[in-house]
């Protein structure tokens, strides 16, 4: 470990906290439906969209209608992308004459991008035309992020509103977030990326003659426009197979820092926005504090392990940290930090190959996803997932002191707790169930590249990533088979919508409740005691379930590694 490495981690944390409030204020304006300075330019576009699609943005929706309209929209988007991928061969911007994608693969990818997962069984530069990347995928990167924020807004309204039957208008939330936040931010971000060396062209490749006289075909494309929203929308689906490790996606140490910040930017802003929405910004800061405790602990462990290196290299006389699967320009600290951020959020972009991490260094990303990616988390998904845990935490606190639990002025009763547990139970059911299935069936066992416990880790990681809508991988796993495409599609769908629908139900239930003012007997949900309780509940409820599976994967892998056993 180096001083620069630790400075980087602390600098990153400081920058993130500094942008949480400005980002949160912008989000809060959209949450309230207030005009921003951008309304002057983009207002006509918004109104035009409403007029053409017959939307009345003022029409408030109950949670059921909000959920149903959200689901219908997702379905339309999913079928749209499915069709684009299947028909790739006859669509434009396909100079390489790439074939259409097979049914299982296209379905997997369409679900993957709809659910904000961006799990990729294919290599972008090999399988997809520029048209498929632009139209088929970029649109999801925006709208799945906007959908996540819309759902978070609905939940915020549940906490903030009193004795109301409605939680907002899905179409208005989704459109405003896209037009007034994601799109303008991405234009600026993409220009910065182009200036830093990320290509933005309609050409799909260029041939070079190397200094040694060989031919090198360099894949190109409209990378920057996709890269910006890939990071800001915590999507994570790379233009190229190597994702943000590819020098064309992430050319410098500075772009790397900005990419890391952009993963957490909206999530941190939403935590602040929640506090503002419920009338006490300290509630938001308390959430962010609990997130930062878990984040820094994870970043510390992964950096420590990666810097310590592996026994295999040490025995061969190569001292120092683990550089297999890492880029020289980032080094160990920035690679370890990126891996923790991308899995704590539901991003899934990678700037290093997690499969080649040390066993315990790679275990932290896995745990981050198993916890439901609530450490800042995906845009929208992070904060609503976190609020589920907060609901459980006040419930636990209520049990301990024998009072009806309350959170930010709302009584938390049996209905909310049941719904929260339902949503949280999806994680172990899907991750462990599908991993177990894959670890016994021949079609599942055909997947892993690495042998021994690391092979099991590859499977476990895949389903943690799919269910958590992360999208990163222990990429040795050959996942482009009907078996994995099918199971992971189911995992991604369940992990997204079996979480969102209960969240919206909670929103509806809370919105209907009376305001319960805080009294001397209320459990305070702002101080260090609350932060500690939150962290404990997340680790115990979210984490303990997965301990046996971690023992079979990364922990067994670690013990094998230090005893010098190879597979």
């Amino acid at each position: 470990m180096t001083v620069q490495g630790w400075i980087l981690i602390l600098l990153y944390t400081a920058l993130l906290i500094a942008i949480a409030k400005p980002m949160g204020m912008w989000l809060f304006a959209l949450y309230e439906g207030r005009a921003t300075p951008l309304h002057r330019v983009l207002g006509p576009v918004e109104r035009g969209f409403y007029r053409l699609s017959g939307i009345d943005p003022q029409a408030e929706q109950g949670w059921r209608k909000y959920a149903l309209h959200m689901l219908v929209f997702q379905l339309a988007l999913l079928l749209f992308t499915y069709a684009i991928l299947r028909l790739q061969a006859v669509l434009p911007l396909n100079p390489r004459g790439l074939a259409g994608i097979g049914a299982d693969g296209a379905m997997n990818t369409a679900i993957s991008f709809t659910t904000n997962t961006n799990w990729q069984w294919y290599s972008g530069e090999v399988a997809l035309s520029n048209f498929s990347q632009m139209i088929g995928l970029t649109i999801h990167n925006f709208l799945s992020a906007a959908t996540g924020i819309a759902v978070a807004f609905a939940l915020f309204r549940g906490f903030a509103r009193r004795e109301t039957a409605t939680v907002g208008n899905f179409w208005a939330d989704c459109t405003r977030v896209t037009l007034y936040l994601l799109l303008p931010a991405c234009v600026i971000y993409a220009l910065f990326l182009i200036a830093s060396g990320v290509p933005q062209t309609l050409a799909s490749s260029i041939d070079a003659t190397t200094l040694e006289g060989a031919k090198q075909t360099i894949a190109l494309g409209p990378v920057a426009s996709q890269e910006a929203i890939k990071m800001l929308g915590t999507n994570g689906g790379g233009f190229f197979n190597a994702n943000s490790a590819h020098p064309f996606e992430n050319p410098t140490a500075l772009t790397n820092l900005v990419q890391m910040l952009s993963i957490f930017a909206l999530g941190a802003g939403l935590a602040w926005c929640f506090g503002k929405a419920v009338g006490n910004t300290r509630q938001g800061w308390a959430i962010l504090a609990a997130m930062m405790v878990l984040f820094l602990a994870g970043a510390g462990v992964t950096y420590w392990q990666e810097a310590a290196g592996t026994s295999l290299f040490h025995q061969l006389g190569i001292a120092g940290g683990n550089l297999e699967g890492k880029e020289v320009r980032f080094g160990i600290a920035a690679s370890a930090l990126f891996s923790v951020i991308t899995t704590a959020a539901s991003c899934g972009a990678v700037n290093a190959m997690h499969d080649s991490f040390t066993p315990l260094g790679g275990m932290i990303p896995m745990i981050n996803m198993q916890l439901g990616e609530v450490v800042v988390g995906g845009v929208g998904a992070g904060i609503y997932g976190f609020l589920l845990f907060a609901t459980l935490a006040v419930f636990v606190a209520g049990l301990m002191v024998g009072r009806t639990p309350e959170y930010v002025g709302k009584k938390i009763e049996a209905k909310e707790v049941k719904l929260a547990v339902l949503a949280i139970a999806v994680l172990p059911l899907c991750i462990l169930g599908f991993t177990a299935l894959s670890a016994v069936l021949p079609a599942g066992l055909a997947g892993p590249l690495n042998k021994g416990p690391h092979g099991f880790s590859e499977i476990l990681y895949a389903f943690a990533s799919g269910t958590g809508n992360n999208g990163s991988a222990f990429a040795g796993l050959t996942a482009g088979t009907p078996f994995y495409n099918g199971l992971l599609s189911v995992a991604m769908w369940i992990g997204r919508f079996f979480m969102i629908v209960p969240v919206l139900a909670i929103a509806g239930s809370l919105a209907a409740k009376k305001y319960t003012p805080e009294t001397a007997g209320s459990f305070p949900t702002t101080g260090p005691l609350w932060v500690g309780l939150l962290v404990a509940v997340i680790l115990i409820v979210g984490g303990l379930t997965f301990l046996p599976s971690l023992a079979l994967g990364p922990i067994a892998d670690h013990l094998a590694m230090i005893s010098g056993q190879l597979f």
Binding site: T138, P199, Q200, E212, G317, G320, V328, R329, N351, H454
Partner: protein
């Protein structure tokens, strides 16, 4: 419920089309236009050309070097090595026999050609398989071999490595590194040595 469902159809279908036009076509095309106009070099892949204008590669993309007179990049798992249309890491785990065999073999080759301390990046595959950089230590390790092959004094090659060393941004961001293609291009253009050492 059914009523709610049918009222969602028009907004869902129309917005899908409108957003596809805005986000899938207008947004990337507008950026392509501006990018090509304002940052043409970067937007087209930061290509490097030789004196005759022929594309020899990209600043940002590593390429394969095997001749003793060139500095070599890291092991690459992209295609058959530095295939810039098939980026990939090795994805080998920390207790992999395949990894152990690969590293053992690479070490034997390196130690056979040169005494000295092998840098970790010389025997580890990068994440992209296209890493354009090596560490300054890895470059200095190779300097005597390159000097021998080109009939140059070692000090001159070492000095060239020093000139191409890039440090950390603001003292914190990134790691010290050397761009292999740029370094090799500089070697070739050193007067009187290029022709002799070119493979």
């Amino acid at each position: 419920m059914l009523n709610d469902f049918s009222s969602a159809l028009r907004p869902a279908l129309v917005l899908t089309v409108l957003f596809a036009l805005l986000l899938g076509i207008a947004y990337p095309l507008a950026l392509t236009g501006v990018g090509q106009l304002v940052f043409p070099r970067q937007a087209n892949g930061s290509l490097l050309r030789d004196g005759g204008g022929r594309v020899i590669g990209s600043d940002l993309i590593g390429q394969s070097f095997t001749a003793p007179g060139y500095f070599h990049g890291r092991p690459s798992a992209a295609g058959t090595g530095y295939d810039a249309s098939a980026s990939s890491g090795s994805n080998l785990g920390p207790a992999s026999q395949v990894l152990a065999d690969r590293v053992t073999q690479d070490l034997a080759t390196l130690r056979g050609e040169q005494a000295g301390k092998v840098a970790p990046d010389q025997v580890t595959a990068s994440a992209s398989g296209l890493d354009p950089h090596i560490s300054p230590e890895a470059a200095l390790f190779q300097a005597p071999r390159v000097a021998r092959a080109r009939g140059l004094p070692v000090a001159r090659v070492t000095a060239l490595v020093g000139e191409h060393r890039e440090g950390r941004l603001l003292g914190v961001l990134g790691e010290p590194r050397v761009n292999v293609l740029e370094l090799n291009q500089a070697l070739d253009s050193m007067a009187g040595t290029g022709a002799q050492a070119r493979p």
